[in-house]
Every structure is written in C-alpha cells, then in structure tokens.
C-alpha cells in the first residue's frame, strides 16, 4: 500500500467511526447502509467474481435470523413454549443472557449458514447461468414457505426477540458498530482473498469454467468454499438484523426474496460486478436513491426503483466501476508495455 491508499483508508475508517455521532438521527439508516454493503459484497463474491448469479443469498440472511433467535432463546427457555402465541407466558432475559445469546447466536448463525451453503451448493452448483439463479431463488422461496408453516419457530407469526436492554439510543449505536465492524472485517478479508491464488481461481471459473476444469483446477471445491464464506457473513448480519428488528416473520423480513434479495443484486450491478469497490459504491448509491424516493416520491417509489434497474441493465451493464474501467483503463493497469530487455525483470 502506498501513502495515498493509507490516507484514503484512514479517512474512510475515521468517517465510519464518527458517522453515527455526526448524524445521530440517522443511526439506524447508517446501520442499514452497512447491511446493504455487506450483502452486496458477499453477493459479488459468487455473482461478480465467480460468475454464479445467485438469487438465493437471502436464504442465508433469513436462516441467520432464525438460527440466532433459536440459539438466543434456547439458551434460556424452551423455544416451543416461547413461540407459542397462545401460551401467554412471560419471558424475561437478564443483560448477561441477552448479550450471550446475541454473541453465540450470531456466530452460530454464521457457522450454520456456511454449512448449509456447502450442502445447497453441492446440489445446485451443477446448474449454470440462469438455471443456477432460478434454482437458488427456489431454495430461498421454499425455505420461507417451510419456515412459515413450522410452529416451533413461530410459523407465519415469526419470532419476537427480547428488546435491547438499556438505553434505546445506545442500542442503535451498538447495532451500527456491529454492522460496521463486520463490514470492515469483510472488506479487509476480501481485499486479501482477491489478491491470492484463490481469488484468481474463482475469476477463472467465471471467465471459462470448462477451461478451468481442463487445466485441472478443483472447481467444485473453490465454488463451495466461496459460497460458504459468503454465507458465513450473510448469516451473521442476518442474526444481528434479527436483534435489531426485535420482531421478524418469515416471508416479509427473513426470506424477503423480492426486497433485500433483489436489492443486493441491484447494488452490485449499479456499482460494477467483479470489483472490490463496485458493490460498496453501488450499495451507497442504491441506499440513498431508495431512501430519497421512499420519502419524496411515495407511491411511485417502486416505479422509480424499477426505472433505475432498467436504466442500469440497459445502459450501464458493467456498472459504475466497469464504465470507469472502459474510460480510464490505465487506472486499472491495462497497458501495452514497450519491449524491454527480454523476459528478465
């Protein structure tokens, strides 16, 4: 890293840390922005870097919510009794129980989602292109329907988790830093991952999987590992979302295929697939666009969003970063070298 990059990252990190104090009214909004960045970055791991456009990543978000809730509740009470709406029992959590539940629930959700990604990936990675997209979408929709008929986890009612103990505003701050922390860790992790041979291998799978196989790459192993890593992070943010939302239900908030499930794809397309910064830039633009239209174009907000998607897909297929790469290839190291003294360097 050169001095300019260090300055840039220092400024960004400082902005991340002070943002909730500069804009105290927007703490939840900023937390949601980080959520968008995380789901966009993880979607791009398979969609952009590996060429597998999943429409089912929302499955890990919803599953993360449920796994975390079941762990947090199960540590203290019987889950079936807790979710039994007719029971009318009273369930209190001490501070220690709440935070232990949140910590173990979040980690457990990440690990569980990683493992399910391996199983689902093993079944669906035989599908290519649009078939993979529809196959994974099917998994997410089916999961939502199954869970909404499963009374032990609250069925269609969903689950109401305990409220954050202590000051409500401090709670908002805690959730912001949880999302931001995972986001920063994810960014550093991906920056490293994409610089390794592993990153190059999944790029090769994207460009020509049959060639990668013919060259002896362990393609299935790389695909499963990538998806499991993505699912780990999505599962964790799903878990934190569950505690932030307090109450969630299966179809609209957990397995919300048509909202967050599509938004994460739009973020990446807007910013540029297959780049590290594209999903981040796209998530910021998308979130601002969405909040502005939801406020000032209420009633037409879905139309505006649809128009944005159409314009992106038709005119900016490579996204903002891709457009930049066409305009300024030298910024990205694409150049013809003069012939120098042979191959020794």
């Amino acid at each position: 890293m050169n001095a300019r990059q260090i300055t840039l990252y220092t400024v960004l990190l400082a902005a991340t840390l002070v943002a909730p104090f500069l804009f105290p009214d927007f703490r939840t909004q900023l937390a949601t922005l980080w959520l968008m960045i995380i789901v966009a970055l993880t979607w791009d791991m398979t969609g952009g870097q590996m060429g597998y456009n999943s429409l089912g990543n929302i499955f890990f978000y919803g599953t993360g919510m449920y796994v975390a809730a079941v762990i947090a509740i199960g540590l203290v009470y019987d889950v079936g009794e807790y979710t039994d709406a007719a029971g009318g029992g009273r369930f209190d959590f001490t501070d220690a129980q709440y935070f232990t539940g949140m910590l173990l629930g979040t980690i457990g959700a990440g690990i569980f989602c990683s493992m399910t990604a391996v199983v689902i990936g093993y079944l669906t990675f035989g599908l290519r292109g649009p078939y993979f997209a529809i196959g994974t979408l099917g998994v997410a929709i089916a999961a939502g329907e199954l869970v909404s008929n499963w009374d032990w986890v609250g069925g269609g009612q969903g689950i109401a988790l305990p409220v954050y103990p202590g000051d409500f505003d401090v709670g908002k701050l805690v959730f912001y830093y949880l999302f931001a922390g995972i986001g920063v860790v994810l960014f550093v992790f991906l920056k490293w991952l994409y610089s390794t041979r592993f990153g190059a291998a999944i790029n090769a799978i994207r460009d020509d999987e049959a060639k990668a196989e013919a060259m002896g790459l362990h393609t299935l192993r790389y695909k499963l590992t990538t998806w499991a890593m993505a699912a780990f992070f999505v599962g964790m943010v799903g878990a934190i979302s569950a505690f932030q939302l307090i109450h969630f239900e299966p179809l609209e908030s957990a397995y919300q295929t048509i909202n967050l499930g599509i938004f994460m794809v739009v973020c990446v397309l807007l910013g540029g697939k297959g780049t590290l910064w594209g999903p981040i830039v796209g998530a910021v633009l998308f979130h601002v666009f969405k909040e502005v239209t939801w406020n000032y174009l209420l009633g037409w907000q879905w139309v505006a969003l649809g128009a944005l998607i159409v314009i992106t897909v038709v005119y900016f297929q490579d996204g903002l970063m891709g457009w930049l790469m066409h305009r300024k290839p030298e910024w990205f190291g694409i150049r013809v070298e003069e012939k120098t003294a042979g191959a020794d360097r």
Partner: protein
C-alpha cells in the same frame, strides 16, 4: 521409446452417428505424434474421449499405464495430461499474466496453497513463457482483447505453464497468420525438446504436421485408416483418396 498414451479399441457414438469405431493407437513418450483426417473423421471426439469430456462406449485409454477412461476432466488434467481447444479458450476478463498464473500446475498445489499469493518465481516463469510465445509486450492487456491468433499463443503458453507430461493440441495453427506459423512450429518443437513435453497434435495443415511429427495416424469415418512415418503417410494411396473424398 515407450508409449505414454495407450488407446485400445475405443468406440464412441452420438446416437446413430459413429464418431469413433474400434480406434487403437499409442503415443510415444517424448515424441511428437500427429493425428490427421478429413473433417468429421472423429479426431476431436477422440481427443475429448482421452481427456474425459465424455464417457466412451467401449475400449480402454491408459496414460502412463493408468486407466483414465472413467476419470473426470480435472483429475486427468492433474495427472499431467492436458489439452488445448480448437476454438481457443482463455480467461477473457483477466490479463495475460493472470491467465498464466492461474495455469500453474494444480496437481502440485494443496488446498491451503491457494490462499497464498503468487511468488516472484511464478511471475518470472509467466514472463519467460509469455516471451517464449511473443506476447511479452501485451502481458497486461485483457486476454479477451487479443486477436484469435494471439489467444492461441496465450493458450499454448498457459499449457506450458502447467508443466504437463503430455499435451494434446487441437489444430494449433488454425487461424494463425501464415507468417507466424513457422515461428509456432519452432516453438512447438522447442516445447518438445527443451521442456520434454510429449505432443499429440491434430492438424489440417499438412506442411506443418509432416514437418514436425515422428509418427502420424490418419482417421476416416471414425476408423483408423493408416499409420506410419510422415513419408509413409504421404505415399499412402488410401490417405490421399480419403482427403479427396474417394473413401
């Protein structure tokens, strides 16, 4: 010399079309073997059978004495038996150096090696081989932006990067500028002599294959029509007839 690829009585049909029928041949270790035949005579089908692209109906294929006809593509590649494609296949969105680096021999890599960065000797080897095929100046261009001929050269360099024991080349000179062909013949020969890679080449350009191969097999209508040295093949009336359509 001992044979490195042994093909015994291999048959493959697509529905009613018999692409290979009872083909037997052997590729000698360290040599250059040619495979010729008119269009549709089953040459590429045979290559695909060898590298595991599809199951064969009948017969046996051995590589270094090991039966490989039931193995999947990746495993065969990791044994050190590699192929290039008639329609070139490169990783279009990556630059030439990245294309080279990802072609490192994966049979020598463990899962955790994948989480390392490439070492400087890997970069050096990539540069040397790109220089070897004459793409050194273009090494930071996206591979997809290269011309078809250049992509063929890149694909060849990628194959060399993989350090295969044997390399199957499907029409290496097709689509390459005639003035570059001489250079390519020279490089193929050097890959054989300097790097010790056994070559098995499908080629339509008779001048090229007669120049390079120690031994040539000729297929027609999915069957082995003739085998022998380039001179024997050139003087074989059945081969001449097959190419002129008499067969």
């Amino acid at each position: 010399m001992t044979s490195i690829i042994d093909i015994q009585d291999v048959s493959k049909s697509y529905g009613g079309v018999v692409a290979n029928a009872g083909v037997s041949m052997s590729v000698e270790s360290g040599g250059i073997t040619g495979l010729i035949g008119p269009n549709g005579s089953g040459k590429t089908t045979l290559f695909n059978s060898i590298v595991g692209y599809h199951p064969i109906d009948h017969g046996s294929i051995r590589f270094e004495g090991k039966e490989i006809s039931k193995l999947p593509v990746q495993q065969i590649a990791r044994l050190g038996l590699l192929r290039t494609f008639q329609q070139t296949r490169i990783y279009g969105a990556m630059n030439c150096v990245e294309n080279m680096l990802i072609s490192m021999p994966h049979r020598k890599m463990s899962f955790f090696d994948a989480f390392e960065r490439n070492r400087s000797k890997d970069y050096e080897r990539a540069d040397v081989l790109l220089d070897f095929v004459g793409l050194y100046e273009k090494r930071f261009l996206r591979a997809g932006s290269l011309s078809f001929g250049q992509q063929k050269l890149l694909e060849f360099a990628m194959a060399l990067m993989n350090e295969p024991t044997a390399l199957l080349l499907d029409e290496p000179t097709a689509g390459i500028n005639p003035t570059l062909i001489n250079g390519l013949i020279d490089r193929l020969k050097r890959a054989n002599t300097e790097f010790g890679i056994t070559l098995f080449i499908i080629e339509h350009n008779m001048r090229v294959i007669m120049n390079m191969a120690d031994k040539i097999y000729c297929l027609a209508h999915g069957r082995l029509l003739a085998e022998g040295t380039p001179e024997q093949i050139q003087n074989n009336q059945k081969v001449v007839d097959a190419y002129l359509g008499a067969h």
